[in-house]
Subunit: 643 residues, 2 copies
Amino acid sequence: MIREVTMENVRLDDAFLSPYYRLVSGAILPYQWNALNDLVEGADKSGCIENIRIAAGLSEGKFHGLLFQDSDAAKWLEAVAYCLQNGGALEWEARADEVIELIAKAQQPDGYFNTYFQLTAPERRLTNLYEAHELYCLGHFIEAAVAYERATGKRALLDIVRRYVDLIDGLYGPDEGKRKGCPGHQEIELALVKLYEATGERRYLELAKFFLDIRGTEPNTFAEEYKALDGFSEWSKRKVPMPADYSYNQAHKPVREQTEAVGHAVRAVYMYTGMAEVGRLTQDESLVKACRVLFEDICRQLYITGGIGSTNHGEAFTFAYDLPNEINYSETCASIGLMYFAHSLLKIEARTAYADVTERVLYNTVLAGLGTDGESYLYVNPMEVWPEASEKNPARAHVKARRQKWHHCACCPPNAARLLASMGKYLYTAETDTVYIHLYAQSDMTAELSYGTFGLSVRTEYPLDGEVAVTVKTDAETPVTLAFRVPGWCKGAKFALNGEAIKPVMKDGYAYITRQFAAGDTVGIRFDMLPSLVYAHTNVRADAGKVCVQRGPLVYCLEERDNGTNLHALLIDGETDFTETADTIGGMRCVRLTARGYREEDAGSGMYAFTPKRRTEQELTFVPYHLWGNREPGEMLVWVRKG
Amino acid sequence: MIREVTMENVRLDDAFLSPYYRLVSGAILPYQWNALNDLVEGADKSGCIENIRIAAGLSEGKFHGLLFQDSDAAKWLEAVAYCLQNGGALEWEARADEVIELIAKAQQPDGYFNTYFQLTAPERRLTNLYEAHELYCLGHFIEAAVAYERATGKRALLDIVRRYVDLIDGLYGPDEGKRKGCPGHQEIELALVKLYEATGERRYLELAKFFLDIRGTEPNTFAEEYKALDGFSEWSKRKVPMPADYSYNQAHKPVREQTEAVGHAVRAVYMYTGMAEVGRLTQDESLVKACRVLFEDICRQLYITGGIGSTNHGEAFTFAYDLPNEINYSETCASIGLMYFAHSLLKIEARTAYADVTERVLYNTVLAGLGTDGESYLYVNPMEVWPEASEKNPARAHVKARRQKWHHCACCPPNAARLLASMGKYLYTAETDTVYIHLYAQSDMTAELSYGTFGLSVRTEYPLDGEVAVTVKTDAETPVTLAFRVPGWCKGAKFALNGEAIKPVMKDGYAYITRQFAAGDTVGIRFDMLPSLVYAHTNVRADAGKVCVQRGPLVYCLEERDNGTNLHALLIDGETDFTETADTIGGMRCVRLTARGYREEDAGSGMYAFTPKRRTEQELTFVPYHLWGNREPGEMLVWVRKG
């Protein structure tokens, strides 16, 4: 069985990714701590830590925020844990311990912990899983607890969440007499799998499976809750109409029968991750098959930047090939969830389609989700920015022209923090005597193979350039297979073993080299990194006549700062060469591209004219999408007209 | 002073417009009567007439519909009046009289009439002008009453509305002791001007002026109402937050200081019409000047089809050049209101820019707003239709892929009916000894000039072709000026007087010919009607790289039926010739166009590929926009990529 090469076994020291590692420890953790404590001037109020203090009896006041405000603290704790595991953020351990102590004080005798219900409506706790996010919050605390125990050996938070999980496990389940229900916002499923893997207790896995199995079956547990509550909504505090169906929550049909990614995108990908994990661990081929089908469908609803969720209405998927550029949603959290899903699929089978998505998502949308200062964030990751439209057209109000200090609904910033602090675990998987290399980053890794520990050292500046050297650090005791991912975007990859060109066996986009490797053996790879024009599928109406510039895994964009206003008036020459220039934006290294292009101008006058436009030559400057919006604010554009 | 040449003085017998005249009498009036009486199977319930019966004490039951449900009856009555005036719909006069009798019975002793408040909340009548639409409904009944009296000589409805207006006039006004307020939905302003013109009673004009003068001044009367009602909303029946500002209702600043068209588009253009009318009749240059500025701004927010309202959020204007094609609103009512506004401006000064808008709106969006069967309607007039997106992307749910039988909010269908039944009045204006010809339609007209009656006969198939013959029917007693509009879209107009080519004096887009005309004098005009590619202003980002096909005033579109699916994959050759073919769609004559074009197909595979698209030649078939969606449902596209 394929397994993750966990963070303990990966030491990352990468020109491209490590600055983000350092950003989390050095800037993001302290900034987010301040945000969670309402110490950032001009930022939306959080109240998150204060809510816990109030619930712990250490402060007075009212609950502030959304039903799931607690989860921000959980994600922050998880990020601290990963930073500690990476050897950073040592000064934050004591602060994290304090938060955990607060939670311990706030936890109710029976294990329950949720500041929203404890402080505003204790009598309604665990009655409205559809809306109430209790299991979602618990899921995040489970993830934090597992990570924190792993990083520090401290079990306090793990004990807290296990008591809470035990409460839930006692109440809900397939057995007669237990309640039937499942979360309105999925998350606990994947978290319970982590808890199972951390503790070995199979009932956690069973509980995750139960929440998946019951979802979307009849009688729908959400409909039952609705009736029991007489339609009372925890969100609007009054009776509301019953939803027409539960596709928003992916509970419109049993999970194994779902074939299209629908509804709220974060809920969806968290659930699919849970399905893949439970499917893998219980060897449930029906779950795995559903995951494959859903993944294929997501790929047809995937922005080139790795964004998902074509509409802000319900922060949701729409349908295949519907990828509007002006009004896309592409929530940072949704892309993070998609990374989880693709990563879980890579633990089932090594296919470059999965890692292509992991890479596309990480190197584009996830990194774009935060400013290079670590103190500004995007909830929505735009495909194009027209600041005046964001301000004056309400249909585009969700597309912010600049990163925000914080969000009223602040799920994304700490989610990005925990993801970026744990990038090490997305690079490799291992299976018996095979090591899979999915993402190329300068790092040293070890994996336990059948005979013992095997080590690799990877030296590269990928994706800044396409040269990779993978050196074996230990003599293998049996033939070992190294499986190198050849990215889907790559037009040509050249392999050499100890300086001699070789042609590895290719399967599902991986180059397999089997050999009884000796310490010092080096596989050199050269990926063709030439910038290219990318064309979207013809069914993507929004991209007709347009191209995107991509170099390696990095999607590029035009910004007003480099190219002037009205980026839609620009065209790139379809036959252009690109000039590459090393640059930095916000302190991050990057390769700037210039290309031959044109600007169209009106030849006639008035709104509508019969005179064809005039074209003048204009050199176009492209910068990596993940660094957009880190200079002066202005227009931005990913899909550019081809002329 | 320029004045309208009213419908009594225009006999329309036009190949293009008269079928719509007949459609109103023959199909629309009966169908809408059925709809207003809930007799159309599968249509949204109206309850409109039944509400009046209940209020009249002749039926029992509950009020049904929206706050302004009464206005549908008013617009229907107005449409009946115009049809009667045109000599049609004779069988509907008795039915209209019955409705008027019902209203008389329902009217309260003090003159008040509004079924919503009478049946659901009499105690709150006239307390919430911001939301309650009472003055809006009254405005529509005024328009109906003036039209009905004019058509039939019957004064019953006029007496009803005058009693109601007297009630309002007694309550509201600039005098001390009177209430300060203005309608949340403008309409009564322009209606009061009609009442003034019909009765000569200046206090109606003064009341219209009062409603305009007080609007947007401090203290804002809407804010005062809000406070008095403690925030109670008539729409949501609970306390709601105070609006951030009143731009939605164009009450964010005094009307004379408004320079940008903002907020709800129908409200806006109804108000601007009132401003233009009051400005003209009171010779208030400050009002007229504001109208000119607002008109200019509207022209920058105007779809090529004559649609306004770029967003469904508030059915509203956004800002100059923001004209998204996938999610536009372009409500039929808003375009109708824009016709009113442009027509009112033509009574101030003859400028072809105004008539260009009247024409663009009428021949494209207004006609598109109803099916050729007269029994199906569009509320939103799309710039492109992708049926699957309308169904599955909530951001596009308002863009219906097919006309509807009726609407929950049914303002548009009867508005279209009254507009189409009164088209005669938009053709001509007159002033001293000048006759202005704004729209070309086969018709006979008379106008009172300084010395007496002057008559013209216009023979044409415009806009099917560009030949127009205007024959004077009476000897003029003094030199008379004929001012012929040369449409803004026209690349060349040739004039001849009695067969001899002439070059008239041009001013503001009108060709002036002054002469002591004799009966039989004929001015021949030949407008260049060749189909052309139209380019939008470069600031219109949504139309970059695209062209629209226009022939005369008619905007064309591609439909799936003629061109296959995925219209975005099609390109029109920028150098194409067009072939014209006479055709009919839904019984309406039209000219079909074919052009040289291409279809793009994927050369590579997958969502994102490096291979440029393949192009194959494909002949493109364009049909007039106003006839789209009258055959099989499918995709539709106005702005087409140019290749």
